[in-house]
């Protein structure tokens, strides 16, 4: 039986049991992983992650059950469990309905790469070795501590009792290296360099290794700097964590409705610097988080979030949109089949500017650049504080030296108003956001 047939079987079974409505989410995932440890291969795994979950509603009472075995028998058990759980629960007055079949959805271009699907573990291993060799060749001081290279094929099928019945296959290649450099017995801070892509056509393990080595070597011999408040150039990753993450939290309709967003009720207001425009595009061609439909089977779409600093819209799944009698924006999200849908950005894109990183650096009189952020961001209030990793001091338009024991602190919502420049070199980050480097002002730089 196909995944979709199992899901259809499950929904029928729930209806027979007496469910008001039901939804089945089936998933089959095959991952080949190569794990590096201490610069050499530690293990390789082929994981087949499969399972089905049932969301069942009886008189506004919700039950949810899942099983990692795909068979008629285990599905029947899961349906019965979901029914029993719904009966034991109490009604949720906000519950309206599972989504209905609206318009048909079609897959965005480039989210399935036959080459990734056919990758053998020996080929992935070869990527890993090329990357590790590139680290050493780039600089003798640099070495790989650990890393992981994975090729994933994912198949999803969603069926519900209101006519939704869809299935999709995607591929994803992702890898990371954790790298350090040593000179005269002193180690640099840990560098995390990665790549995440729908297609390996342009993937270069050598480039990945070289970038990691460069960053590691650049953070040797760090010096302290006096504490000051001023300009901080956030490379793509720290910009994603510090700026994109609280934005994502604030435009999540569930948070808006539950008073957990400072942007609740502020559509049409200027909440950020006019240089900042943000969209969520679930149909982005080759987008790392693109798909034809969201995790409830609702077609993906492009949703405007911020236009020149003005708040334009929120992201919805069917539960939050039903509460406001609106259409879902196709942003239902599940981490995997075993979790309930929440609201989440698909590909949240911070629109790039037109300056390259070097050009931005050349315009900074005094500031710091940070390439990794190891800290905490409170998404509701926007407070952030943490260690600036692979950070360097910039003076008179030039990088002076690496920084040690330096922390940064501030508030994201203030920082969004204090954006000076948005860079042009956008990248897909691990945080469901495409983010360029961003220069912000008035950040506290705290040192010993």
């Amino acid at each position: 039986m196909s995944l979709r047939e199992y899901a259809e079987y499950a929904v029928k079974k729930c209806e027979k049991l007496g469910a008001s409505e039901a939804e089945a989410y089936g998933q089959k995932q095959r991952v080949i992983e190569i794990v590096l440890e201490r610069g050499e291969i530690q293990s390789e795994r082929t994981k087949t992650h499969l399972g089905i979950s049932i969301r069942l509603i009886k008189d506004k009472k919700l039950g949810f059950a899942y099983n990692s075995t795909l068979s008629k028998e285990s599905i029947e058990k899961a349906c019965e469990a979901a029914f029993a759980l719904a009966k034991a629960s109490i009604p949720n007055p906000d519950w309206i309905s599972l989504p209905s079949m609206s318009k048909p959805s079609s897959s965005p271009e480039g989210i399935f790469d036959q080459r990734i699907a056919e990758l053998k573990s020996a080929e992935i291993l070869d990527f890993a070795i090329q990357a590790a060799n590139a680290v050493k060749e780039k600089d003798k001081k640099a070495f790989v501590d650990d890393g992981k290279f994975s090729a994933l094929i994912n198949e999803t099928s969603i069926v519900n009792s209101h006519g939704i019945s869809c299935a999709e296959k995607t591929t994803l290649f992702s890898c990371y290296l954790i790298c350090m450099a040593k000179e005269m017995g002193k180690a640099s801070s840990m560098v995390f360099e990665y790549e995440i892509t729908r297609s390996i056509e342009k993937f270069s393990p050598t480039k990945l290794g070289e970038k990691a080595a460069e960053k590691a070597v650049a953070s040797i011999n760090p010096k302290s700097v006096e504490s000051f408040e001023g300009q901080v150039l956030l490379d793509c990753d720290p910009a994603a964590v510090i700026l994109a993450y609280p934005i994502m939290n604030s435009i999540n309709a569930d948070n808006v409705q539950r008073n957990r967003s400072l942007w609740a009720g502020r559509i049409g207001e200027e909440v950020a610097n006019p240089t900042l425009s943000v969209v969520d595009d679930g149909l982005l061609p080759r987008g790392v988080y693109s798909s034809a439909f969201d995790d409830e089977g609702v077609p993906r779409q492009r949703t405007e979030i911020l236009a020149k600093g003005v708040l334009k819209g929120y992201l919805h799944n069917s539960f939050t949109s039903n509460k406001e009698n609106k259409a879902s924006t196709g942003n239902a999200y599940r981490q995997n089949y075993a979790t309930l849908p929440t609201v989440m950005a698909s590909n949240m894109i911070i629109q790039p500017g037109n300056k390259k990183l070097e050009e931005i650096i050349s315009e900074i009189d005094k500031g710091i650049i940070i390439r990794r952020f190891s800290g905490n961001v409170r998404p509701e209030s926007g407070e952030f504080s943490g260690i600036a990793k692979q950070a360097s001091l910039i003076e008179n338009g030039e990088i002076k030296h690496a920084l040690k024991e330096t922390m940064i602190a501030g508030n994201t919502f203030e920082a969004l108003k204090n954006i000076i420049t948005i860079g042009s070199e956008i990248r897909a980050t691990l945080y469901r956001a495409y983010v360029p480097p961003i220069l912000v002002d008035k950040i506290k730089i705290v040192s010993k």
């Binding site: 794990v35 050499e40 291969i41 039950g63 059950a65 990692s68 759980l85 629960s89 650990d146 940064i408």
Partner: protein, 456 residues
């Protein structure tokens, strides 16, 4: 039954050292958000894996199919993966001899969650939600979640071990958001243990709820703490984060081998003599407690630092052989989909004899740090973790509260600066992510030290 199937297949092995694990995990989650019931959630994952050591090279494979053919196939796949990858490995893995065990273990408990009354658990969560939301008018939102994880683990090895363990974990997590004049503050608390449902009577979820509600309410109008180096008291509830992030990771033998700051430090002084730091796989009710790890090695109490002197690292069988010591039972896997790696179990700093007042006494200008958030560490010893609340200490007296900020430091220096440890020992629950996640215990008593606050 699963154990017999694995044993049968194991007898037909062709080469090398083989270990096979079967894992069935049942998870029940009940969540209430702002008084509204989420779907009551129950699930089962089940599968098996084989790890084979051929000519000094590991291979690993897993499956969710539990029939004889599938099990035989993962054993063969693992062996062939080991062989294929061998030319790429410089390290030849050797295992030290290990006593053969035939044993069973089950989390000691009075109230088995198998016999739980679902409606009773639902109403417990609903009740906590009501109390949290009525704590103050500033509370605008909450999530109350109760989770029971029931793991059945079977282990067989070609050396002859046959081990069955059932580990039950029961915990609750609360987040609360408070609002005042356009400003939001959130707080987080948890309770739980490796235990049956009795833990919900001993440390009620309501307590965690009210602690979080009180904190969110208090911090709604508070400012963030200032930045700089300060003398601080780290609350007993988060001292385990210091033990875990700052020191524990650097004592994991795979990281030691990579050159962590504890490498070559056995027998040397690495902390103040007030500090004894332990990773204990046998700690009663600890979230990371097991009788055997996922290599079939009995767990033990491993003293990493004794009165400031570095004593031992945390080992797998493989690293124990490399370091020429006994394995410590630290090799753990998240599920059957993962091969085991070196993990902490329950990591804590042993208590001293100071009361909280005595700890505060000598601080003229500092902070009492409460409530933990996530943390990270470089193996150079530079660590950070977030705190939720920073209570100002002026001339030995606790004063106004600030919003907590991330703290950082070098583990060496921070532990060297510990000049007093409290007597209020507590063991908490935690999750640790190191390539794969796992449950850990983190514990300790409030202590006094000096570190960098990344504040405003």
């Amino acid at each position: 039954m699963a154990l017999d199937l694995l044993s049968e297949c194991l007898e037909k092995r062709s080469e090398g050292y083989v270990e096979m694990r079967h894992h069935r995990r049942e998870t029940l989650t009940i969540t209430v958000k702002d008084g509204k019931m989420e779907a009551v959630n129950h699930g089962v994952i089940e599968g098996a894996c084989a790890r084979v050591l051929v000519e000094g090279s590991w291979g690993f494979a897993s499956t969710t199919n539990l029939n004889r053919n599938a099990i035989m196939k993962i054993m063969e796949d693992a062996a062939s993966l080991g062989k294929v990858s061998k030319p790429m490995k410089k390290r030849i893995v050797k295992l030290p001899p290990l006593q053969v065990f035939e044993d069973t273990y089950e989390t000691p408990m009075r109230k088995d969650p198998n016999k739980a009354d679902m409606e009773e658990l639902v109403s417990l969560v609903i009740d906590v939600d009501k109390k949290v939301r009525s704590f103050s008018p500033k509370i605008v939102s909450d999530n109350i979640s109760l989770r029971i994880i029931d793991d059945k683990l079977n282990f067989v090895s070609s050396e002859g071990s046959r081990i069955s363990q059932r580990i039950v974990r029961c915990y609750g997590v609360v987040t609360v958001v408070a609002k005042e004049k356009g400003s939001l503050a959130s707080a987080y608390e948890s309770i739980g243990a490796q235990s049956g449902l009795e833990i919900l009577e001993e440390t009620p979820l309501e307590n965690a709820g009210l602690t979080a509600a009180e904190r969110a309410d208090k911090l709604a109008s508070a400012k963030a703490a200032p930045g700089g180096v300060f003398p601080v008291i780290i609350e007993n509830r988060i001292v385990g984060l210091l033990a875990h992030e700052a020191v524990g990771h650097c004592a994991e033998a795979d990281l030691v081998y990579g050159g962590s700051f504890l490498a070559d430090k056995i027998g040397e002084r690495v902390a103040s003599e007030k500090v004894t730091l332990v990773d204990d796989g046998t700690f009663s009710r600890g979230f990371g407690t097991m009788r055997y790890d996922d290599e079939g090695v009995p767990t033990q109490k491993t003293i990493i630092i004794e009165k400031g002197i570095c004593k031992s690292f945390l080992h797998s069988r493989e690293t124990a052989k490399q370091f020429n010591v006994e394995p410590t039972g630290n090799c753990r896997a998240w599920t059957f989909e993962y091969d085991p790696i070196i993990r902490m179990r329950n990591t804590y700093i042993e208590p001293g004899d100071h009361s909280l007042e005595e700890l505060a006494e000598t601080i003229k200008d500092g902070f009492f740090l409460k409530g933990g958030l996530s943390g990270q560490a470089d193996f150079t010893g530079e660590f950070m973790f977030g705190t939720q609340e920073a209570v100002k200490i002026r001339n030995g007296e606790l004063s106004e509260s600030y919003r907590g900020v991330t703290i950082s430091g070098n583990a060496f220096e921070v532990l060297e600066n510990v000049d007093a440890v409290g007597k209020d020992f507590i063991m908490r629950i935690g999750m640790c992510g190191k390539e794969q996640i796992n449950y850990v215990g983190m514990g300790g008593a409030s202590l006094r030290t000096k570190l960098l606050l990344g504040g405003m």
